[in-house]
Every structure is written in structure tokens, then in C-alpha cells.
């Protein structure tokens, strides 16, 4: 498993808010919501939609392409047409920074 890497200052992402970062050759969405940070692959499992460009509503993010929704805490799809989870990664706040560790 890879190491935690710093991706951003906490102040870079409002709560609620999100941003896409490149970590280890991989694009991930980092979400700041409810005082916590979450991280998922920037890929909609329905048809590779740019999930990071989607709207955030509570703990759900909506794919702009066909409207699938995912739970940002688990990566699980909560609305069709996606049926497979998108990968979630570890994310944490330390001091005023956000750190992410890719799970695989």
C-alpha cells in the first residue's frame, strides 16, 4: 500500500466542496463535507463519466453524464445507471492539510 501524500491545504476546498487531484498517476476526487474529507476515483463506473465534475449533495455525488449517484463515504452507487462501486481511498485531515493514501 502506498504512503499518505499531501494533496492540498484544507482551506483550498470549502465545506462542502470538492476538487480533482492527480496522485501517483491517478486522478481522484477529494471531497470536503461535514467537517471530514473523502477521496474517490474520478471515474464513474457506468461509462467512465467525469464524476469529479458532478454535483455534490450531502454525501452523494452525481455523475454529469447520465445521472448516476455514488455515496462518497463508501463509493457505492446509490442511483442507476451505475451498479458497481467506484474505488474509495483513505483521506485525512492533519493540521491544515489534506492527506490521501491510495488503496490500490
Amino acid at each position: 500500500m502506498s504512503e499518505f501524500v499531501r494533496v492540498a491545504a484544507l482551506s483550498e476546498i470549502p465545506d462542502p466542496g470538492k476538487n480533482v487531484y492527480e496522485v501517483d498517476d491517478r486522478f481522484v476526487i477529494v471531497i470536503h463535507a461535514g467537517g471530514q474529507v473523502y477521496c474517490l476515483d474520478d471515474v464513474c463506473t457506468h461509462d467512465d463519466g467525469p464524476l469529479g465534475e458532478g454535483d455534490l449533495e450531502g454525501y452523494e455525488i452525481e455523475c454529469p453524464r447520465h445521472g448516476a449517484k455514488f455515496d462518497i463515504r463508501t463509493g457505492k452507487p446509490t442511483l442507476m445507471p451505475a451498479t458497481q462501486p467506484t474505488q474509495v481511498h483513505e483521506a485525512k485531515i492533519e493540521g491544515d492539510s489534506i492527506f490521501v493514501r491510495l488503496v490500490d
Binding site: N19, V20, F27, D48, P50, D104
Partner: protein, 441 residues
């Protein structure tokens, strides 16, 4: 963060282009072609996931800034270069080996030369047979304006090979082209193959990295022109290291009653986006494509194929097999296009995917676009996982899980292997795949 059309990158800007072209010292007509392509390159944005063509292929991680155009003054020590796998044990009639677009070796047998065959590295053939190159370069299916990568290629290409087989000449010995990339190297090779009416030849092309673990950038093109009644066996093995970005336009056309047999192996690269198009231009033209894709790690291979029937009574037959390990991905989009008047077309395309791990993913999108009314076009795509029962069966007979897996994978590819008539190619592909099959629980 969203990625916009990139501004021109320093190493690839007008100034760099001009000094590059000056160093090449090419005839004016080619300088003009390059200039037009460079202007197109500057105008176009990088493809984004909003475009249908790139929807499933994310190239945000690609950064042209990390690469320089090929160094024209770099001297290549031919003796230190590997010789590739396709020509092993094969009696070849000529060979071109390049590193980062610089030619290391270029040979052709006297016997072939005596028959009027022209074969060699692009620059030498251009210097000696400029008119012939002018007649064919970018005249076929390759379109420098297709996207930013095609334009980049047409503006900056160097290296590659040219083969010309005159009318009714039969070339028995295969010809071999190997493009190599070194550390952080760039390869912009252009390979042009022309068979005049009634000619016959076999061409083996392959690519590889000197170090599997070093980044590289390939932005290349292959143009194949098969004349009336001509016959070409063409093999293309993509074996780049796992950190190479591979963008390719591979275009062929076949004349009346001509035959093109094309074997494609795609094993390497970090990300590949290849457009492989064949146009059937004369009545009775035939094309058969056999493709083998094998991926591992986080590789992403995207192949867009097109078989374009522009004349009546042509047949095309595209068969692909892809096996995927780890978190790798393949995208395959196939199109059978039939122009108005191309009656009695017989077009076939199929891809079978074998997912060896839970996290691998294969997207296959076959398509038809038919504007004639008396045709037969069939297409299909399947995706499946390894059958645990088959593994159990093999293990019950004393095989290890790994051996069983290897047998299943080789068995899966057998249908394509059976269609490959060149033994050396079959063996090279078989070995390359067997080496990569790992054990999964």
C-alpha cells in the same frame, strides 16, 4: 481542476519546429506538409473526455512538456541495440532498427534491390527516392488533421521505414522494422508500405523499450497501401514498456482483388490510443485482421478499428481477443462502414474479452454504418471471466493453478493463433503472453 486545451509547449513551439525542420534538410514539398500540420497542431486542443472518441480514455496524466522532440544529432550505437522478438530465427530480407527515431541499422538484401524493391529507413529512402515518397506519403487514409496527436506526428515525425515493392514482384523473405525507445525517449516514426499491383510481401513491425520502467512517448503512424491483386502479410507487435504513452494512427487500403492479412499484438504501454482503419477500395478486396490484446497492472489500451467498404464484393474479417489482469482496462470500438454502392459486402467483426481479475474492465462497442442494401455484416462482443471449474479440472489432473491459468489463457487466444500463418509470430506472441500470466487466488 479541469484540463483545457494546452497552450503550445515550449519544446514543441514554432521556434523549435523551425529549427527541427531545418536540421532535417528535407525537400520543400515535405517542409510544406509539415508546416501545415504544425499549424493544425497549434490550433487544436488536446482531446478531452467530452469527445465521443476519447470518452473512455483519460489522458489528463499525459504531459507533452515532459518530452523533447527527437534529437537529430544523436548517434545510435547499432551494436548495443536489441534485435526484437519477431525476427528471431527468421531468414529476413531487410531490417530497419531505430532508437528514439534515429536509425541504428538499415539493411536490405542485394537480391531484393536487384528486383527493384526499395526498403530502408525513412530518411535515406526520402533522399534517394523522393518522388516515390511524395507520391504516397499522407495520400492514403492517414489524416494529419484527425486530432492534435496526428498533427503533431505529421509535423515532427522522423524515423520509421519505407517499403516499396514494384509491380508483380514477390518478396519471399520477411522484412523487419523495430522501433525502440530509450529513457524518457520519444518515437515519432512513420512507416509507409506500398505494394504495387500484383506484388507480394511480408512485413514484421514491432516496438519495444530499452528499459521497461522508463517513461516514453510514441506518436506514430503506419500507412499501408496494397495495390490491385497485391498481397501483404503485415504484423505489428506493440511491446512498449509500461510507462510509455502510445498514440498511433494505423491506416491501410486495399485495391481490387488485393489481400491484406494483418496481425496485431498489443501487450505494452501505459496507455494506448490507436486508430486502426482499413479501407477496401477496389472490388474483390479482402482484409483479415487478427488482434491479440493482453494487459496487466494499470495499463489502458484503447483500440478503435474501422473496416470501410468503399467498393462492392469486398470482404473484411476482424477478430480480436483481449485478456486482462490486475486493474487494467481495454476499450475497443469497432465500426463496419459500408459506402453507398458497396453491394455484396461481407463484413465481420468480433472481440472476445477474458477478465482474469475482479478489477479489470473491458468495454467493447461494435458498430455498423451501412449505406448499401445488399450486404452481410455481422458483429459481436463477449466478455467473460475465467471458469473456476476448468481450473479445478486441470488442478485435479496435477497442474498447478498457475499452469492451469496459463493453459486457459493460451486456449482462449488459440482461435486467433490458428489464423496466424507465420510460425515465428505465433511463437513470439505465445511466449510473450505466457510470461505475463500470473497467479491469482
Amino acid at each position: 481542476m479541469s484540463v483545457q486545451a494546452a497552450p503550445t509547449v515550449d519544446q514543441w513551439n514554432a521556434e523549435a519546429f523551425n529549427s527541427y525542420v531545418k536540421q532535417l534538410g528535407e525537400p520543400e514539398w515535405l517542409v510544406d506538409l509539415r508546416q501545415n500540420a504544425f499549424e493544425a497542431f497549434e490550433e487544436m486542443g488536446w482531446p478531452t473526455r467530452k469527445e465521443e472518441e476519447w470518452m473512455r480514455t483519460d489522458i489528463r496524466g499525459f504531459n507533452l512538456k515532459k518530452f523533447d522532440p527527437p534529437k537529430l544529432d544523436e548517434v545510435v550505437d547499432a551494436a548495443s541495440l536489441p534485435s526484437g522478438v519477431l525476427a528471431e530465427g527468421v531468414d529476413i530480407g531487410g531490417q530497419v532498427i531505430s532508437l528514439n527515431g534515429r536509425t541504428g541499422r538499415s539493411t536490405v538484401s542485394e537480391e531484393l534491390e536487384a528486383k527493384g524493391v526499395i526498403f530502408g529507413d525513412f530518411a535515406t529512402v526520402l533522399a534517394e527516392h523522393g518522388d516515390l515518397v511524395k507520391k504516397y506519403l499522407f495520400q492514403g487514409e492517414f489524416d494529419p488533421n484527425f486530432d492534435k496527436f496526428s498533427a503533431l506526428h505529421a509535423a515532427f515525425f522522423s524515423g520509421g521505414a519505407f517499403l516499396y515493392v514494384p509491380r508483380n514482384v514477390v518478396v519471399e523473405q520477411p522484412l523487419h522494422v523495430l522501433n525502440l525507445i530509450g529513457d524518457n525517449g520519444v518515437d515519432l516514426a512513420h512507416t509507409l508500405i506500398v505494394l504495387e499491383e500484383g506484388a507480394q510481401a511480408t512485413v514484421l513491425t514491432e516496438s519495444a523499450s530499452l528499459d521497461d520502467d522508463q517513461p516514453g512517448f510514441h506518436c506514430g503512424a503506419i500507412e499501408v497501401v496494397v495495390g490491385d491483386r497485391a498481397n501483404l502479410r503485415f504484423v505489428n507487435l506493440q511491446n512498449w514498456g509500461h510507462k510509455v504513452w502510445h498514440f498511433g494512427q494505423q491506416k491501410g487500403s486495399v485495391g481490387r482483388d488485393g489481400n491484406l492479412f494483418w496481425t496485431l499484438g498489443a501487450l505494452g504501454s501505459r496507455l494506448s490510443k490507436v486508430n486502426q482503419h482499413v479501407a477496401l477500395d477496389g472490388p474483390g478486396a479482402h482484409c483479415e485482421v487478427n488482434g491479440v490484446l493482453f494487459t496487466e497492472g494499470k495499463q489502458h489500451l484503447s483500440y478503435h478499428t474501422q473496416q470501410y467498404h468503399r467498393a462492392p464484393n469486398c470482404t473484411s474479417n476482424f477478430l480480436y481477443k483481449a485478456a486482462l489482469q490486475d486493474h487494467s482496462r481495454t476499450v475497443w470500438r469497432g465500426m463496419i462502414k459500408v459506402a453507398p454502392g458497396a453491394q455484396k459486402t461481407d463484413g465481420y467483426q468480433r472481440i472476445d474479452n477474458l477478465l482474469l481479475t475482479e478489477h479489470s474492465r473491458a468495454d467493447s462497442i461494435p458498430g455498423l454504418e451501412i449505406e448499401a442494401d445488399d450486404v452481410r455484416c455481422t458483429h459481436g462482443a463477449t466478455t467473460g471471466r475465467v471458469d473456476e471449474e476448468q481450473i479445478f479440472y486441470a488442478m485435479a489432473r496435477g497442474f498447478t493453478r498457475k499452469e492451469a491459468m496459463r493453459m486457459i489463457v493460451i486456449g482462449f487466444f488459440q482461435q486467433v493463433f490458428d489464423r496466424i500463418t507465420l510460425e515465428s509470430v505465433r511463437e513470439a506472441l505465445g511466449h510473450a503472453i505466457a510470461r505475463r500470466v500470473r497467479e491469482y487466488e
